[in-house]
Symmetry: C2
Subunit: 82 residues, 2 copies
């Protein structure tokens, strides 16, 4: 099974990398871009387990290692077939 984890900076946190991408898009001629936020995307391959225990495990991974919860928020999906 596979966990897909999305980590983004919280709304209130400045995102200079996103600003840089936004500027680059405008230089390349893309119109209508109002903002860019850059985050992380992780796929964690897990041994098959009951979905509830997989969720608990993934949440613990995010809290302890993957996300810095002071400035980042995370969400995840568990794909039992992945």
């Amino acid at each position: 099974m596979k966990a897909k984890i999305y980590i983004s900076l919280k709304e209130s946190i400045l995102d200079p990398q996103g600003k840089t991408v936004e500027h680059a898009l405008s230089v390349l001629g893309f119109k209508g871009v109002k903002g860019v936020r850059v985050g992380k995307y992780m796929e964690v391959l897990l041994e098959p387990a009951p979905i509830d225990s997989a969720k608990k495990s993934v949440e613990a991974m995010c809290e302890k290692l993957l996300a810095n919860t002071v400035i980042e928020s995370y969400r995840y999906e568990i794909d039992p077939e992945g």
Copy 2:
């Protein structure tokens, strides 16, 4: 409207960052992790536009700037309400 873009290294490309995260998870005591791949997640805020032209635009952004299509693959979703 908002485009959510997921960029991952292609399967055949080594991912040392993912390996490092995998090792760190095992050191922290997480069992049953068989692999980790680390990628990027971007949210691009767009002016309202027809969905087809938004898709074209986002694809062009990915091809030209956001993804390195030699080693990375991307997928995206357009959320008209985002």
